[in-house]
């Protein structure tokens, strides 16, 4: 057995501490240690984007980050996107545009889209497609996802 490491981090605005094995990925820590199962494992090698989280203002594939690397970091997961009981405009736009079918990739897309709109409130279609190219969806063909992000970008709450 391996000695566990004590990690102090901030998740969705709350200080969190956890113990993890040095070989555990951040995704494993979120899902198995902290019970935050919104981030999904689709490939465990950084190619599907279902485990996307925001770490210190950058989107990362949490399967490619070690849990111990979260020490001192600020992490936002899908569980931290809605504002209390109110859905984030991106989440509402996904529902209104039927931008999900099975929904397994949806958390990753919403987290990535939020990171994009936080940085660039008015992205072009090409820019949205480029930014979301790290996230695979097998159900929708992306059409309605791109439209949802466009609609969210046009909403005043996002533009502020």
């Amino acid at each position: 057995m391996h000695n566990k490491v004590h990690v102090r981090t901030t998740i969705n605005g709350e200080p969190r501490e956890f113990l993890c094995e040095p070989r555990q990925s951040l995704l494993e820590c979120l899902r198995d240690v902290l019970g935050l199962t919104g981030a999904k494992e689709g490939c465990n090698d950084g190619n599907c984007g279902a485990c996307t989280v925001i770490m210190d203002d950058r989107i990362v594939a949490s399967c490619l980050v070690l849990g111990v690397e979260a020490e001192g970091a600020a992490i936002t997961t899908i569980e931290g996107i809605s504002q209390g009981s109110r859905l984030h405009p991106i989440q509402r736009a996904f529902l209104e545009n039927a931008a999900l079918q099975c929904g397994i990739c949806t958390p990753g897309f919403i987290v990535a889209a939020k990171a994009l709109l936080d940085r660039e409130p008015h992205p072009s279609e090409e820019r949205i497609r480029t930014y979301l190219a790290n996230n695979l969806c097998r159900c929708t063909g992306y059409d309605k996802i791109v439209r949802a992000v466009q609609q969210a970008a046009a909403s005043e709450e996002v533009v502020r």
């Binding site: 689709g42 279902a50 079918q101």
Partner: protein, 749 residues
């Protein structure tokens, strides 16, 4: 076309499970947690074909933290027999043998043993400690090779079934079937133009983003509880009961949310193995596949070799069509070549047809359904030959298709005569679509079209509806929801009840809580489970009328109910008002619907695509894409469009990039999402849709089901577009840059 207006059907409400799915709260297969949960790992074969000489699990068992190890020897070992697990008879030895190999491994990735341990990492370490001694055997990977005399035998005891009759012929051909009508020789003799071509398509995977996941607990009372991601909870129950030799009543399967399936999550891989592990250690065991496991150990769809010959007269009428199809079944028979053969000329009214199809076993994973299984391969071949003939006859490709289009009364070569179908309407919609009539300018650009067919199926479905005192209803149905079907089912109930879609609270039941319901597949869910909901809602309405009749002292037959208002003379009650008075009028109301509908209506789809081919690199860019499909009646148009868009893009991936890249010894060399290249958002334009509605006379709302036919035409349409862009006829999938460059160079030579 459908012109009936409904209050709920045809609108676009937010899906009922939406909030859970955009907040990360929806729980999928791998998200299941339980006290004392153990994690498992499946050891898989490194060889594509080998005899298992010895398995020694002692070192794995000795590793601290390991609680159980199982091999095929742990299955009940009764004699082989045929079992019907929902899709025709199969030998139980094939089902069991695909769960854990016995005697031989038949493909690389074939499960050999499994471990349960206190953590995933320890389980993986332990799997690595299992010693398996193999005697490697020569492997065979494609249908044409496997059909040769003297080819290595995948199953030594397999005998070819010839035209429905058993034979003594040993080989890799599991079955040869023929569909024929008319006089094929006379048909070709009457033709002015005859084109015959050969096609090859690579093995491709369904590519759902969620790997298979299952947890099982063999409880102390002898009941086996399973939580898993599946297209069919009752199929999991029945298969698991069958291979474990226990009654179905001993099993309860709770379907978790499912992260995509496309046909690949009908087959059972993990549940019986998790159950065996749990029986040994008395704790719940969770098994989750890695992506590599998914590629190497679960059903891809068959690679194929197809020859198509079509003859037509100068007036544009097809006189004869012939096809030879050999599909790679993978390790076990059942390649879906038969539906491929049934679909190959299904869009056309042809008098003289001969189709021979061969189901061929090879040393690749046992193939499974993938969205209109078998039909996409077939349409790639047939629809490119149709395009070539239209060109030779100097006819517009849609006009040529219209002159030969199947319609009500047309007989297909496999027997059935069509009832009302929408093939002509789909083609007319394509012909009039702005996309088809827009100019396409610029060098190296071309436009292509193709059409495709898929049957759609009925099969059993169940639904219960309970009325709440506040005028809402709870609806429980048995179809796992892969793409919004809770909502399309709930909307059909709402329409009957005269209430809003939002006033129906739908959920997917476990196998203890709802009647038998077949899998989510065959484009059947909105059709058949929607029908069960329609029937359950009718049952509720009948009982509601009885209650109103009791209150008003009238005959129930005298009561009318329209858009949620019950009336009899001057008496009026809304659905909500009456729902509040159930206790005083006799107690709760529960409506039930249980159906096995036979009226599934086939669906036609068409693709229009503009491409640009880079003559220096061979890269094909999709500039514009339009998907047209006959939905019968679109219950929730947004999710119908979503099916069309998703199927189209899977077809685009199949056409341009996706393939199992195999080494000569049968190893898949690209078993990751980096190297198995599925389309990304950046590879695509918006996917336009045009929903055609030719109501299915076999459904209360005219639903046909739209899950599948949309994947059938894209590869052929893209091949036809590439021809117009680059002057090369592509006859092999995928049409990736190396293949395009080779074709361009061959043309220059």
């Amino acid at each position: 076309m459908s012109d009936r207006q409904y209050a709920v059907v045809g609108t676009r409400p937010v899906r009922h499970d939406g909030a859970d799915k955009v907040t990360g709260r929806a729980l999928y297969g791998a998200d299941f947690q339980a006290a004392d949960l153990l994690h498992g790992c499946v050891l898989r074969s490194p060889h594509s074909h080998a005899r298992i000489l010895r398995i020694d699990t002692s070192k794995a068992m000795a590793l601290p933290g390991v609680k159980a190890v199982v091999t095929a020897a742990d299955f009940p070992q009764g004699p082989d027999r045929m079992v019907d697990l929902g899709d025709g008879d199969v030998p139980i030895s094939y089902v069991r043998g695909n769960l854990l190999a016995s005697g031989k491994v038949l493909y690389r990735g074939h499960a050999v043993a499994a471990v349960a341990a206190v953590s995933q990492h320890i389980a993986e370490e332990a799997a690595g400690l299992i010693e398996v001694e193999y005697q490697p055997l020569p492997c065979v990977l494609t249908a044409p090779e496997a059909m040769q005399e003297g080819a290595p035998l995948v199953h030594e005891d397999l005998k070819t079934k010839e035209l429905g009759q058993p034979t003594d012929r040993a080989g890799n051909v599991a079955e040869h079937l023929r569909f024929a009508m008319g006089d094929i020789d006379a048909g070709f003799a009457a033709a002015d133009v005859v084109v015959e071509r050969e096609f090859r398509t690579a093995t491709v995977h369904q590519g759902y983003i969620e790997p298979h996941a299952a947890t099982a607990l063999w409880n102390n009372d002898g009941r086996v509880l399973i939580w898993c991601s599946t297209q069919g909870a009752f199929i999991v129950r029945d298969v698991t009961a069958c291979v474990l030799d226990i009654p179905v009543s001993r099993l309860k399967v709770t379907p978790m949310e499912i992260g995509g399936g496309f046909g690949g999550k009908i087959t059972v891989y993990l549940e019986p193995v998790a159950a065996l592990l749990s029986r040994k250690c008395g704790r719940p065991v969770k098994l989750v596949m890695t992506r590599k496991d998914v590629f190497e150990g679960t059903g891809p769809t068959p690679g194929s070799f197809i020859r198509v010959k079509i003859g037509a007269r100068n007036d544009g009428r097809i006189t004869a069509a012939q096809a030879y199809l050999a599909y790679e079944a993978g390790a076990n028979p059942g390649s879906m070549v038969v539906p491929g053969a049934m679909c190959i000329f299904a869009a056309y009214d042809i008098a003289n047809v001969a189709i021979d199809c061969y189901d061929v076993v090879v040393n690749k994973p046992s193939t499974q359904a993938y969205r209109a299984p078998g039909a996409t391969n077939a349409a790639f071949a047939a629809e490119t030959v149709v395009d070539e003939i239209a060109e030779k006859l100097a006819l517009d490709p849609i006009e040529f298709r219209l002159r030969n289009a199947a319609k009500e009364g047309t007989r297909r070569a496999d027997g059935p005569k069509y009832r009302r179908i929408g093939c002509v309407e789909v083609l007319e919609t394509m012909k009039q679509h702005p996309h088809y009539n827009a100019p396409l300018e610029g060098p190296h650009r071309g436009r292509g079209v193709a059409v495709g067919f898929w049957f759609n199926i009925g099969f059993p479905s169940s639904c219960n509806i309970s009325v709440n005192a506040d005028g809402t209803v709870n609806l429980v149905e048995g179809s796992t929801d892969i793409g919004g079907s809770r909502t399309s089912i709930a909307m059909q109930a709402a329409e009957v009840l005269g209430i809003a879609a939002e006033d129906v609270n739908p959920s997917v039941g476990d196998t203890d809580s709802i009647g038998y319901t077949s899998m989510t597949g065959g484009s059947r869910t909105t059709f058949a489970t929607g029908w069960a909901a329609w029937e359950a809602a009718q049952d509720v309405m009948r009982q509601m009328k009885e209650r109103a009749a009791k209150l008003w002292g009238v005959d129930p037959a005298a009561i009318t109910a329209e858009t949620g208002l019950f009336r009899s003379g001057e008496n009026k009650l809304t659905f909500r008002e009456l729902a509040a008075r159930l206790v005083e009028t006799g107690g709760p109301i529960v409506g039930r619907g249980a159906v096995n509908p036979k009226g599934a209506g086939g669906s036609f789809a068409g693709s229009i695509v503009d491409v640009e081919v880079d003559p220096e690199t061979g890269k094909v860019s999709i500039l514009r894409f339009t998907s047209v499909q006959d939905a019968g009646k679109a219950i929730h148009p947004s999710y119908v469009e979503g099916q069309m868009q998703g199927g189209s893009v899977q077809g685009i991936g199949w056409a341009l990039n996706e393939e199992y890249f195999m080494s000569s010894d049968g190893a898949m060399l690209n078993s990751s999402f980096l190297d198995y290249r599925m389309p990304t958002a950046l590879d695509l334009p918006m996917i336009d849709t045009a929903i055609v509605e030719v109501p299915n006379p076999g459904h209360p709302f005219g639903v046909r089901g739209v899950g599948e036919a949309n994947i059938v035409p894209p590869p052929a349409a893209i091949a036809n577009a590439i021809y117009r862009a680059a002057g090369v006829r592509m006859r092999r999938l995928p049409m990736n840059p190396p293949a395009i460059m080779e074709a361009i160079w061959d043309q220059r030579d």
